[in-house]
């Protein structure tokens, strides 16, 4: 049994942001708060450009900096190994916001505390998938045992890319099927 985490097939992602919206709906997130966020990138030059999208959320890392740096213990590992947050313990100090290289925890001004992707633990405890997974119209987001996901979707899966931090820092529970252009270090993020 491996860690639990997300699988993302970048090759088939059309960048529609339905996962992002499903997450927003599930978490009733304010504007400027996105626990899952799709970003679009471009490589190459005309007339041979290429483009790819990345749908990212909390990676429920093995070496989660948010957990390590949390002074109150609000950020913690749940029994299933995912990184969870006890909102009652959060004091809004934002150490986790600064520590996470993925930008997953986000400070919510209105409530004065931090929030982040909890991998829809309430749904999963009921035997359901995270909202983003069941929303994806290309069926390319999955959540589960990373070893099983690797076996099912491997072998060329990665957990780091030029657009992502070095994986060794936090050991993200993430597997991505990359698109070939996503290995290009000369990428440009686009607000489409």
């Amino acid at each position: 049994m491996g860690k639990l985490g997300f699988y993302f097939d970048m090759e088939a992602c059309i960048g529609c942001r339905t996962c992002q919206m499903a997450c927003k709906d599930k978490n009733n997130s304010d504007i400027n708060v996105l626990f899952r966020r799709v970003k679009s990138f471009e490589t190459g030059v005309y007339p041979k450009p290429d483009a790819y999208n990345y749908s990212g959320s909390c990676n429920h890392c093995s070496e989660a900096k948010c957990v390590q740096g949390c002074p109150t213990g609000a950020m913690h590992y749940a029994e299933d190994g995912t990184v969870q947050q006890n909102k009652d313990k959060c004091i809004g100090c934002q150490y986790c916001v600064w520590n996470c290289p993925y930008g997953a925890p986000q400070y919510i001004e209105k409530s004065g505390v931090v929030g982040k992707c909890d991998s829809c633990k309430d749904l999963r405890d009921n035997g359901e998938n995270p909202a983003c997974v069941n929303a994806c119209i290309m069926r390319i987001l999955h959540f589960g045992d990373l070893d099983e996901l690797k076996q099912k979707y491997g072998p060329n899966l990665v957990n780091e890319l030029p657009i992502l931090p070095i994986a060794s820092v936090t050991q993200p529970s993430l597997v991505v099927k990359p698109k070939s252009c996503s290995s290009d270090r000369n990428y440009r993020e686009k607000e489409v």
Partner: protein, 882 residues
Amino acid sequence: MANLLDKAREMMISRRKFLGLSATAATGAALLTLPGCGLSKLDANEATALANKEGTWISAACWHNCGGRCLNKALVVDGVVIRQKTDDTHEDSPDYPQQRGCLRGRAQRQQVFGADRLKYPMKRKHWQPGGGDKSLRGKDEWERISWDEALTYIADELKRVKKDYGNRSILHIGGWNSQITEMSRTLGLYGGYTEYWNTNSFGSWSMTPKTVGFWQLGVWDQTVNDRYDLRNCDTIIMLSMNPAWSAMGSSSWHYWQAKKAGAKFIGIDPYYNSTYSSFGAEWVPIRPSTDTVLLLALAYVLLTQDHPVLNPLIDWEFLNKCTIGFDADHMPEGEDPKGNFKDYILGTYDGLPKTPEWASEICGVDKVQIEQLALEFGKNKKVAFLCGMASARTRNADNLPQLIMTIGAMTGHMGKSGHMTGSTMHATSGNGGPALVNAGSNGLPGIANPIDDTINANQIWDAVLDGKYNFTGKGSFVSADQYQPGKMRDIDIHIIYHSGGAILQTSDGMTKGIEAHRKVDLVVSHSQFLTTNSKYADIVLPVTTEWEKFGGFLGGTLVHSGNREMILMYSQITEPLYEAKSDQWIAMEIAKKLGIKEKEVYPFGEKQQFFNALSSITVVNEDGETYGPLVTITQEDIDKLGVTGKPQTGKITYSEFKEKGVYQVKRYQGDNYGYIAFKDFVQDPENNKLSSESGKLEIYSKKLADTINNMGFSKIKPIPSYIKVVGGYEDTFKDWGNKVKDEYPYQVITPHYLRRSHTVFDNVKWLQEAWVNPVYLNTKDAADNGIAEGDTVLITSAYGKILRKACLTECMRPGVIALPHGAWVDIDEKTGVDTGGADNILSGQVPTGQGVSGFNTGIVKIEKHIQTKLIPDVEKPARIIL
């Protein structure tokens, strides 16, 4: 807004209404951007409390003209919608997919319960019967009025205008067709109204396909095979299409199955869009409005490089058997044999062979790439030649569908597995074939419009302002009667009545449109928000959304309604919000004030209409040919609904249908539901005649040319041929020969955009955040104009000016800019510049051919704008009125 709940209590509204209002409060929490919204304090606790309670999932309408049709469900707890989801009614597989919805559907509750919902009937402060200060339309203050006041004003003005000027002076607009809205019933019974017509999304696919025989199953976009057969293609060549943005639901996933099965993708487009980049398509970067030129050159390459043994490209047997007009030997009787297509391509008589060199100068595609592209079409490959209709939403493109057909016919990509040619778009994109579930009918008898005046979109505002237009018949773009010989008519419009749609926003020439709205005596608008139609109106009537209605159905037809495999049934989610009323109620109440009996307008009520539609749905049997009733209805169901009807037996009970919200035919490999377009025709053309006069695919169509030339907008030939496009690439030059650019050096296209569905949803903050709505500029073009990423760009055409932030991209062809379609206009009255980025501020009223709206034909200049700061759309205050 701050004291909304107090107001609600004051009104002593019912408990259920109150709960509807609470729902607004709950989503208000998410809408942090609501300025001065005091509700957020209330609902943080409320939302948490609700989240811990058991709720009910109710099938919710997702009813927009979005390019998809999907299952949407709302989790309702104590009358408040706290979350949404999509189809999970069965296991999901590529062969039998769930009907999953997109981000817009996921944000539906943000729209329905938006703080900017119109709450009451409103009157513009300085309007009075006869018009008042008309120049203030769009900038006046609003006053709340009662329903009775609003309806009385409207009825009195209708009476006055009818008496003084006649029914012709009432312009009734209901979206794409004036006859589809509820008010058309009332106004029809009141003596009629002038209609509006346009070619909408279809451009020259409106009339051309049926005339030339490129037409299957009674519509223009079912000439492609079903989605299983897509997986048999070697090559999928896409001409100006982007299902990733314009056909949500499962379409992109269907295309992906073809990709997984090994298909190669090619995209011919000015923009290397999300579909092409996702599918790794080879890009053929073409200039807008020049597809005809490219395709003519493809025909040239095919003709000149074809060799029966060494290089078999052309399917001569197909041409011989299935087409007319290709060469001199196959011309229709009585026509000059010299007018054939082949000799035109080779330049036999005009001395101008349509070579890749010739085409390249205009369309911008390298001549070598044109040659390579032509070879991809070779007859021995399994090719799907697909297009959306964007390339036909251009001026002077009336022969384009015919030319696409011609290329498909030359290469024999029709009527066989793995071969297909034609347009495929919207909810049926990539999945042709007859509807396996047929929607029912509500049983309401139609009410005719006794007036025949019908004004084309390209003349509508000029007609209001100048009092004349070219009448070409009536019946809307789907009817042959709409394309009659043109006759100039005088017209004197005094009332503009918008009973639905968003035509001021979505029709050509919005600047003129605003001027026209400021001319008439009265503008009425039904809407849910202060849309563009309503912003420039005098009396605005708040209408319910589909979530506030008893229920209904979506899908079950092929045109803009759903995919062929399913039908959706939705139920009521909330009571009408605030004072919103249904369009039907409004139509009835105005009728009463006009002295028309209620029963004449609606012989029976909305529940009976619902039942009639429910009981008349049919579904295919396993033989794939015969159909039977879909829904099993018991006497108990009928009694409970309180309607008249008979019990019946079908394939799903009413209660299960209601609970699931969808009935989907289970497709599987080897089922009887597959579809190969033109199969019967290709096998036996003589006994399976097509819709053209000859019954064949008409590469030469005298009827097409005569019909269009007699309409009087512009001229075409019976064969596809090069026509210089009004406002096209050539018009970006003042000296074509020496290539000296003119005032408007860039071409502009207006792609569909995932923030919204045409204009719908553009006000939803969650969607504004997800899709920021920039203008896309090629990096080099931007640099040439001193524009950097994120800079504000002033885009100017001969018709108007807009501002947008720049998104610099290598995915745009240089010389072309892309402005997402459908943003709500937001004019700065001091400068006259639209800060909303509305595409139709840049478009003009220029009718060509069959009356096509040339949304993708336009020329502009671009400049860096530093005078004012453009506020991101998501940070703009919502339009909360009263």
